[in-house]
Each structure stands twice: as C-alpha cells, then as structure tokens.
C-alpha cells in the first residue's frame, strides 16, 4: 500500500463519510462563531457602546500608556518570581516543623501551627498594609526600610501558610508503611523525611502548589497600594490624569497573558500527575 494514500475513514469496520469525521468540529466552530457575532452585534449596537469604548478600550490611550504599564508589570513579575522561590522553601520548612515527632520538637510544632493559623486567617491586603507601611515606619536600624521589601515579605508570609498546608497534606498522604520501613532500616527521623517522605510528598503536591503560584501571580498587584509603581499603579496614575480607564484594561491584558498560560501549564502537569498515579495503581 502506498504511504501517500490517506488512511481509510473507518470505525469498527464501518466506512465513515467525510461528514462523520469533520462534522462535529465544524458544528462546534460555527456555533461558537454565531453566538460571538450575536453578542458582538448586541454590544456594538447598544446606545452606550461608543462611550464605553472611548472610556475603556481607547487604542490611543492604550498605546500611550503601554510602555509604563509594561515596565510596572516587569516589577510585578520580578516580585512574583522571587516570592515563589522563598515561599516554596519557607513553606516546606514550616510543613516539616509541623510533622516532626517527639517532645523536643514541640516548640517548632507549636510555632508552625500558630504561624499557619495566624497568616491563613488574615486578609493578604491587611498584611500588605501592616508590613508595607508599618515596619518601615519603625525605622529599625539594620532592617530594610523599603515598602517593596516589606510588602513582598507580607505576601510571602501569607502565601507560605497556604503552601505549608499543601505540603503537609502531601506528607500525610505518603503511606505509613514507608515510615515504618525507613525506621526498620535504622534511618533517623530526619533521614526518613529527607530520603523517603519528602521526595514523594513534594512530587504529589506540585499541581496544587502551581495553583497557588497562579493565584500569587495576580495577588502581587496588592503591592500597588503601597505606592510601588507596578502595572496597576502605573495604570491608576494614568487614569487619575486623564479620567480614561483604558490603562487598566492594558494592565488586565498583561496579567491575563501571564496567568492563562500558567494555568494551562498547571492543568497539563496535573493531568500528567494523574496519569502517573493511575498507572502506579495498576
């Protein structure tokens, strides 16, 4: 058989017509297109549309403000990247503290429990205001005084509490037989955690951690309340000057451009992880 000939359209011995193969896709695309066009027509023909367009979607304003907003967005993403690394490590340490056995580790356990209860129970915005304005105002010698540093610290503290709980669920999910086996081999508590439990736990919670990373990606915008010139702040400055909100739409577009691919990546990794587990279960 020539390799150039297309594969016969067959399913379970039945010959399929072209219509059967491409029909569903064609119907999906057309129906979505039609609905979109109807909504668009309704919006564009609405009486208020020209005003809405000028106020929110002015190309001129967007082009004008874009360089500033983009520069601000760079700050957002740098804060995000640095915070991610710190959160991943600090939260792991908190989770390890909490899972330690034995009376000597009670202070670490209690610290971890109190920390997580406290920072999970407080709004991130409140923490950002408290640390971002409050701590620099103390003027303590030897400590950084920028609101950028303390605002980021507030986000890190808040998100670490969530991430620590995610890690802990991963640690708890490792079968007890693994601990028993490690103990029977003579491994100490630390060695058991380090060599046997944590590698499995971390692998199990990567999808959940990535979900937190996506949430943090937008929450870094909270730092704009401290006057840090991030994307949202830059957009607000423009709005205050021109009474045009297109700059915020520009910032919104940038956030979406970052968060949607990140969310897709998370979905993909979660799917791979699920497949791996199902395979392991056989």
């Amino acid at each position: 058989m020539s390799s150039k000939r297309p594969a016969p359209l067959k399913r379970a011995g039945r010959t399929l017509k072209v219509r059967d193969k491409y029909g569903p896709a064609v119907i999906s695309v057309t129906s979505v297109l039609i609905v979109t066009l109807i909504i668009r027509a309704a919006v564009v023909h609405a009486q208020q549309w020209p005003r809405i367009k000028a106020q929110f979607f002015s190309m001129k304003a967007i082009i004008e403000v874009f360089p500033n907003v983009l520069k601000g967005f760079g700050i957002n993403m740098s804060i995000w990247a640095v915070s991610l690394v710190v959160i991943a490590l600090w939260a792991l340490l908190l989770a390890v503290f909490r899972s330690l056995h034995g009376p000597w580790f009670a202070p670490l356990r209690v610290f971890s429990i109190v920390y997580i209860d406290l920072f999970r129970g407080l709004p991130s915005l409140l923490l950002v205001l408290l640390f971002g304005f409050g701590v620099p105002a103390l003027q303590i010698p030897g400590l950084p005084r920028t609101s950028l540093f303390w605002g980021s610290a507030a986000l890190i503290m808040s998100y670490s509490a969530y991430a620590a709980e995610v890690y802990r669920s991963g640690i708890d999910a490792v079968h007890t037989g693994q601990r028993t086996a490690a103990k029977a081999l003579g491994l100490s508590q630390w060695q058991t955690l380090y060599y046997c439990i944590l590698p499995q736990a971390v692998r199990n919670v990567i999808p959940s951690l990535l979900n937190l990373a996506v949430a943090l990606q937008k929450d870094v915008a909270l730092l704009s309340v401290l006057g840090i010139r991030d994307a949202v702040r830059e957009a607000q400055i423009y709005t205050a000057r021109t009474f045009n909100y297109s700059s915020l739409i520009a910032a919104a577009a940038l956030f979406l451009a970052a968060t949607i691919p990140m969310a897709r990546l998370t979905d993909y990794i979660a799917k791979k992880d699920r497949e791996r587990r199902l395979q392991g279960a056989v």
């Binding site: 693994q178 086996a181 029977a184 003579g186 491994l187 060599y195 692998r203």
Partner: protein, 247 residues
C-alpha cells in the same frame, strides 16, 4: 543462650490488650512460624521484637541483652534484626539498588562502592541481577518482595522477621518468594515468620506457634501441631484452613 528471649510480653493498643503474657525463645539458626487468625497479635509480636512498636510489660532480649537496655543502640538493633513486610514497602522514587543501599550508606556509613558491590552480589544471588537500576513499579509483586528481602539482608542481620510476606502476592508468584526463604533457612538464617501458608510453615519451620487473642495457645514442632493439635482452638482453626483448601 537463646538468640531471642521473649518473656511475659504484654502490649496494649490504647486500652485494648493485644498481647497477653507471651513467652517465647528462638534459638540461633532456628525457624519459628507464627500462625493464627487476623487480629491474633502475630504481626504486633513481630514488630515488638525490633522495636517498631513499644510494649508495656515483660522483656525481649537479643543475645541476653534487653532491647530496652540503655546501652543498646537502636541503629545496632535495626542492623541485627531485619524485617520484611506484607506490602514490600519499597521506596517508589528510588531504584532497586538505591533502595537496598540506602541503609548501609546513610545509617552504617559504608562506602558507596562497597555497599553497591555487595547489593549487586545479593541481587544476582536472588536472581534479580537485571533489575538493579529498575524502579519498584516496573517489577512484579514477587520480584518486589524479593527486593525487599535483599534490602533486609544487605545489613547482614542475625535475625530475619517476615510479616506475611506472601499475603499480597498473586498465587503464581508466591512460590518464588517461598523458595528464597527456604534457601535462607538452608544457609542457617534465624527467622521468625508470620504466615498464612500452612503448607510452607510445615515445610520450613522447626517450631510452629498458634496465637489466638494475643496468647500463644500451642507451641509444637510442625508435624505434631498440624497432625495432632492438642488445643481445641488450634484444632478448630486448622479445620477451617483445611475446609478452605489451604492445607
């Protein structure tokens, strides 16, 4: 002096009494099988011996020294008494070789090359030579259980505890694992075996103990215990096993 000397061992889980005044000696090179229905305390007894679970009263001595003696290093205890579990409990993120050499390298500080060489030697001895670099999930249940036995053997233990090592295996894979244990017996390994395989217990054991409700009700050489049990509970238990076609 017996290798293991258990006297008046009593163990509670919370307020539930699971082991009642158990006394049992195991001589060097002896193989003792523990049989009995689920919940009779067999596995708990095994786990008390290498200090995986604590007990409240009585004593367990290894070569005449109590395992609770303050001079007894726990790492030394785990080195001298190996254990193999029903569910293998291999570490899934490590290769077979890493599973086996973890304890020698990290607990007993043997050089990596030396411990790997010995691990490979043992693996080929147990017909697992080709799997050194495989991960546990790539192996069959029987192979995984044999790896677990190698992992316990690599520390050159003086006593081996086997906790229902064939209970999770497909019937056609049980034979391989049992053959390995018979081989260890030939080499003079001291073993305490919890098992539901009565035919195997009869073949391999020097002595069989029947446990019921946390007590040793009967203790005898296998021929005597299986053919002429004295205790009515033992007779009833064996009767049920025979009816189920397992003896």
């Amino acid at each position: 002096m017996p290798k293991i000397e258990i006297s008046h061992l009593t163990k509670y889980y919370g307020r539930k009494l699971v082991l009642k005044d158990i006394s049992l000696n195991v001589e060097e090179h002896e193989v003792v099988c523990l049989i009995g229905s689920s919940g009779s305390g067999k596995s708990t007894l095994l786990r008390c011996i290498n200090d995986l679970v604590p007990f409240e009263y009585g004593s367990i001595k290894l070569d005449g020294v109590s395992i609770y003696d303050s001079g007894f290093d726990v790492r030394d205890l785990y080195k001298r008494i190996g254990i193999v579990f029903q569910a293998y409990n291999l570490f899934p993120h490590m290769t077979v070789l890493d599973n086996i050499t973890l304890a020698p390298r990290k607990v007993h500080h043997t050089a990596k090359r030396k411990s790997e060489a010995y691990a490979r030697e043992l693996l080929s001895l147990f017909a697992l030579g080709d799997f050194a670099d495989s991960y546990p999930e790539q192996l069959s249940g029987g192979q995984q259980q044999r790896v677990a036995i190698v992992r316990a053997m690599v520390n050159r233990p003086e006593v081996l505890l086997l906790d229902e090592v064939t209970a999770a295996l497909d019937p056609e894979l049980i034979g391989d694992v049992l053959a390995v244990i018979k081989d260890l017996r030939k080499k003079g390994m001291t073993m305490l075996i919890v098992t539901h395989e009565m035919g195997f217990a009869r073949d391999v054991a020097d002595r069989v103990c029947f446990l019921d409700g946390g007590k040793i009700l009967e203790e005898a050489p296998p021929d005597q215990l299986f053919q002429n049990p004295r205790n009515p509970r033992t007779r009833q238990f064996l009767q049920r096993i025979i009816e189920a076609g397992r003896l």
